[in-house]
């Protein structure tokens, strides 16, 4: 299960809406081993694409160095789907490389850039296997 504060969910959805129709992506870091998402870090989608996302390679190194210095890990890795449901695609599954992370997907297919319903779901992706998990929003 993913336990997450409401303002972090809102921040991911706002990022996804702002970047629609391209995919938005980012991380919520938290203290190592805590499983607590705390620090919201929106990333640039270097692919700038409606069907693909990738962190820029220099940004990626900076991000991991910074998390290391702060004894953090990527508790949540999020990205948006802009035309399909909030479920991991085949590419999402094949490139998933953080077995401890919650992979959060946000679908903006209904809301686009506007207010309106955005689907938010969370998954574990380990060794090519996807398991959906409940999201508990706790203030």
């Amino acid at each position: 299960m993913l336990r997450i504060r409401p303002e972090l969910v809102d921040a991911m959805v706002a990022h996804a809406r702002a970047d629609h129709p391209d995919e938005a992506c980012g991380v919520i870091a938290g203290p190592e081993g805590s499983d607590r998402p705390e620090r919201f870090i929106p990333m640039v989608n270097a692919a700038r694409s409606p069907t693909f996302y990738e962190f820029d390679s220099a940004d990626l190194l900076r991000l991991y160095r910074e998390m290391d210095d702060r004894d953090e890990e990527p508790v949540v890795i999020y990205h948006s789907h802009t035309a399909t449901e909030a479920y991991p695609s085949r590419t999402d599954i094949s490139y998933a490389s953080e077995p401890l992370a919650h992979y959060v997907l946000i679908s903006t297919r209904e809301c686009g850039n506007d207010e309106g319903p955005a689907e938010v779901r969370s998954f574990r992706i380990v060794d090519g296997e996807v398991t959906e998990e409940p999201v508990e929003i706790v203030a």
């Binding site: 692919a47 069907t51 693909f52 996302y53 390679s57 991991y64 590419t91 490389s97 953080e98």
Partner: protein, 90 residues
């Protein structure tokens, strides 16, 4: 010549859980061969027939080796190599 190599979480099962390991090599290719000799299976996760795998980033100090010499990138004593899988998807 000794180079420190930073191993990402997903590859730590190969290094017995170690986050940082030392390895030897005058080039990145030699370094990976040296790593493979002690941590069997690691090489296949880093390279394929084309060279470095597309969704694995390897940095020499602060620079992505794709912008240096790829697998032929030369290493010096005291360098640090960081391996990070790309964060990507569709």
């Amino acid at each position: 010549m000794s180079v420190e190599v930073r191993i990402p979480t997903i590859l730590r099962p190969y290094t017995g859980g170690e986050k940082n390991v030392s390895a030897e090599g005058a080039t990145l290719a030699e370094l990976i061969t040296d790593l493979e000799s002690r941590y069997a299976g690691l090489q296949e996760r880093l390279v394929d027939e084309q060279g470095l795998r597309r969704f694995v980033n390897v940095y020499l100090n602060d620079e992505d080796v794709r912008f240096l010499g790829g697998l032929e990138t030369e290493l010096s004593d005291g360098d640090s190599v960081t391996i990070l899988p790309a964060v990507a998807g569709g």
